[in-house]
């Protein structure tokens, strides 16, 4: 019995050693690091789909430098430990570049791994400002950072004549970062943050929080976290008779928020990176995506698609698969035309322009606020 156990564990080890050598050397290997399991799997799969769609189009058009793109996915599961394993897996497979990064918290510890291997990393979604500080230089954020989002948010609040603001986040890296930045900026402007709250992820009943917020009589409530719990907070705020402005961050930009919150979501503002519906350049992408995956692309599909295209473009410009050359080419990107808008980088490898738009919910749909 004991020996069989030892043998089988050795067998498992041997099996493990075999893993990770699939693609042939003549291909261009691109890693995708997104959560494909866990609570954020929906977004992860959406991003994976969009990246694969882009890779497919590139291959159809002849590939990159004559090589076909082969993608491989590492499941980050929105969990730091699993994300580091996924990153190591991609690094071991000798990928030429990686597109990915959805949950900021899970992306943070992988930065070191990609940095050590000097692998070009294009981050389409994760946008905690913490990512900027620890970027060793190989990572490029094509989603606007939290700084840009706060700017957009504050401009809306100012335009609406708001003074007393309530901020609610969800106790994860991304939403706390956004909440904190907003609070700093708002108080620096001499305005008041009357409530700064946090809810537990997955907790459904928010009545106590709602009562607390209502008692502070804010002019606006800003939800900085994801749509699923956001929808419930909005619904319960409206149910309890809160009638003032509600705004949500880019993590809540989903048609599902409107579906879950129903009528309560009417008039809610959302700061968002441009999603497919508002991008004239993305019409073809939308149709292709729908044809390929039988569903509408979600919030980060367009940026993920752009990320893959940008990486391919940079490799073409670099003229080789040399990692340092690709990184150099990425940094030198000048007005790359993505479907989500032109991409250039600052000296900190973040998107040079703010791509945030303001949406507003009307008749169960997000429309551009004008």
């Amino acid at each position: 019995m004991k020996k069989t156990l030892i043998l089988s564990s050795l067998g498992a080890l041997a099996g493990l050693l075999m893993l990770g050598n699939v693609a042939s050397s003549a291909d261009l290997k691109i890693g995708i690091m997104v959560p494909t399991t866990g609570s954020e799997a929906t977004y992860g799969k959406d991003m994976e789909n969009a990246i694969n769609l882009a890779a497919g189009e590139i291959n159809k058009a002849g590939g990159v430098l004559g090589m076909k793109i082969v993608t491989m996915t590492g499941d980050a599961a929105c969990d730091p430990q699993q994300a580091t394993a996924a990153a190591s897996k991609l690094v071991s497979a000798n990928v030429n570049g990686v597109v990915g990064g959805y949950c900021s918290g899970a992306t943070l510890p992988t930065m070191k791994i990609y940095g050590d291997a000097n692998i070009p990393l294009v981050i389409p979604a994760a946008n905690s400002t913490k990512l900027i500080g620890i970027n060793p230089g190989n990572a490029f954020q094509i989603n606007s950072t939290g700084f840009d989002q706060v700017k957009t948010a504050v401009s809306l609040f100012k335009a609406k004549g708001i003074n007393k603001l309530a901020i609610v986040h969800q106790g994860d890296g991304y939403s706390e970062d956004l909440a904190k930045l907003t609070r700093e900026k708002w108080t620096a402007m001499g305005k008041e943050v009357v409530a700064y709250e946090v809810v537990n992820k997955g907790e459904q009943d928010q009545s106590a929080l709602v009562t607390r917020i209502k008692s502070k009589a804010p002019d606006a409530v800003f939800w900085t976290a994801y749509y699923a719990d956001g929808a419930m907070v909005i619904k319960q705020l409206r149910q309890a008779g809160y009638r003032n402005l509600i705004a949500v961050g880019d993590g809540s930009n989903s048609p599902k928020l409107l579906k879950i919150a129903g009528k309560a979501a009417e008039g809610v503002y959302c700061f968002s990176n441009p999603t497919v519906e508002y991008l004239p350049a993305a019409k073809a992408f939308h149709a292709n995506y729908k044809a390929a995956y039988k569903q509408d692309p979600d919030a980060y599909a367009a940026l993920s698609y752009d990320g893959m295209k940008l990486l391919a473009d940079a490799i073409t410009r670099a003229g080789s698969t040399d990692k340092a050359a690709i990184i150099k080419a990425l940094a030198a990107t000048k007005d790359f035309t993505g479907i989500a808008g032109p991409i250039s980088f600052t000296d900190k490898n973040t998107l040079a322009r703010s791509n945030f738009v303001i949406l507003v919910a009307k008749d169960g749909k997000w429309i551009l606020n004008k």
Binding site: T37, G38, S39, E40, A41, T42, K45, G171, Y196, E197, V198, V199, N200, G202, E203, Q204, D205, S207, A208, L209, T211, R212, K214, S215, A217, Y227, A228, A231, M232, K235, R238, Q239, A240, G241, K256, K259, I260, A261, G262, K263, A264
Partner: protein
């Protein structure tokens, strides 16, 4: 809002939330009372209940709409289906473990829980589903306290279910047999009571109560997902322990108490909502240190 209004509103919030916790805690406590098993899968049965209710409602809404009639019908269907699943789980996973070490049974329960929620995750792709009904937000203003009709119906039905359960356990022969099994299984056998059957019945009732709570949560909060059972499972477990695990009135009391603690926990000066759970867990630990068997629990000596 004046401070009295806020406190009154929080009282209402706490009672509403608490009646919900109580409903889920009942299932925990019933199963524990009989076979001394902490059924970690209970929260997941709540989640499954919501999903079954969702599926049932999407079929039924074509015939009877998604108003109260549809909700009640899908709730009953969900209660039956999840109740049977509870019995199946007991048969497959817990019956063979009855003579195993206590920790192994606990781990088996954790494994069952993982099977259930990972199963639902795999089949729903981890998506949040919108549980749409045509319920509105109208309600009653009692002084400065606002309660929606839906909330009242939900609290009413959980109270009703609890009363029905209480009557069942205390007034019917089967209910008395359940209590007797918790006291002495051998003696029950000698009374002609088929112990396994009664335990299965307990699982059925406990699971269907969780399913009822799940469907209520789905209709009230408007969204369901594979992970929704986790937090409520944790809270219901806490409520059951606060009240004294194994005791049915204890579960009700514990649920209400926890609901109130959480509601008022957000109102403590200088302490924000972020400390709410620290507050309730802290009280729980203090309570157990000074009254180790919970409020209504019986003292008994037991080892792992």
């Amino acid at each position: 809002m004046s401070i009295q209004d806020i406190l009154l509103q929080q009282l209402a919030n706490g009672l509403i939330l608490g009646s919900f916790y109580a409903l889920v805690a009942l299932g925990y406590t019933m199963v524990y009372g009989i076979i001394k098993l902490l059924n970690f899968a209970h929260g997941d049965l709540y989640m499954l209940g919501a999903f079954v209710g969702f599926i049932a409602l999407s079929f039924l809404s074509d015939y009877i709409g998604d108003g109260w009639a549809g909700i009640v019908c899908s709730m009953v269907l969900s209660m039956i289906a999840v109740g049977l699943l509870g019995v199946l789980i007991q048969r497959i996973a817990y019956v063979p473990m009855l003579s195993a070490p206590r920790l192994s049974i606990l781990i088996t329960a954790l494994a069952v829980s993982m099977v259930l929620y990972n199963g639902v995750m795999a089949f729903t792709d981890g998506q949040y589903l919108a549980f749409t009904t045509d319920l509105n937000y109208e309600g009653v203003q009692l002084g400065n306290v606002f309660v929606t009709n839906t909330q009242m119906v939900l609290v009413g039905s959980s109270l009703l279910l609890m009363i029905v359960l209480y009557l069942f356990v205390h007034k019917t022969l089967y209910g008395k047999a359940m209590r007797a099994i918790a006291i002495d299984q051998d003696a029950c056998r000698l009374m002609g009571i088929n112990v396994n059957k009664i335990i299965a019945l307990t699982f059925f009732i406990g699971s269907s109560l969780a399913a009822a709570a799940g469907v209520m949560a789905g209709t009230y909060y408007g969204s369901i997902h594979f992970f929704m059972g986790f937090i409520i499972g944790l809270k219901a477990f806490t409520a059951a322990v606060i009240g004294g695990i194994g005791s049915i009135p204890g579960a009700m009391l514990g649920g209400l108490l926890l609901g109130l603690l959480e509601a008022f926990g957000t109102q403590i000066p200088f302490i924000g909502t972020e400390w709410k759970d620290v507050f309730s867990f802290g009280i729980l630990i203090l309570l157990l240190v000074f009254k180790p068997t919970g409020i209504l629990g019986k003292t008994e000596i037991e080892r792992m």
